[in-house]
Symmetry: C2
Subunit: 122 residues, 2 copies
Amino acid sequence: MTLQDIANALVEGCRTGKELENLDRLYHPQAVSVEAADYSGAGRETVGVDGIKAKHAWWDSAFEVHSADLEGPFLHGDDRFAVIFEMDATEKATGERMPMREVAIYHVADGRIVREEFFGTG
Amino acid sequence: MTLQDIANALVEGCRTGKELENLDRLYHPQAVSVEAADYSGAGRETVGVDGIKAKHAWWDSAFEVHSADLEGPFLHGDDRFAVIFEMDATEKATGERMPMREVAIYHVADGRIVREEFFGTG
């Protein structure tokens, strides 16, 4: 798959609720996910697809999502692409509604996503 | 200046037409600018603020800008931030109107922008 193929597949998967299938299909098993800030207090990096899946599961359990949208992909050279994510969600524990927009950068090597990095407004 | 200070100053300068002052004030003299693709045929990288200024001058001479907007900054850790740019411009030579959106990633070291990378939709 070319960078454009992988980027299109990632975006299509996010649009159709197939984020977990994306992880198995498009990511290297040792891919690294890096948050914009150390929200959890346990550091910004998660190493490995299993850890990234656990992060998704935590998110799904902690937030109620009202709407989600994305824009992209935007390509850079032959090894990175960006996606803009928008989400309107409520944290279940606090009832706080948090509209969010963030930029994600994906690094690709040998036809797999090896690193995802999130940029946020804090 | 913190990363947030630099990011805010970059965005404010772009909003107020002070891109060239941004380059002198916020960039390392040897900063590198990397395009999404090799549009010019001369490579994707421009090294040094003087070269980046020449790129701005070329752009200003080649395009008529109808409107421009941006969103951000979005921060990542303590050394990078993203900005989303939107521009509606016409290439003077061809008369072709080209609405554009791109994501820019800025790398900061020792209080200066040392690298800017553009991500495009091609």
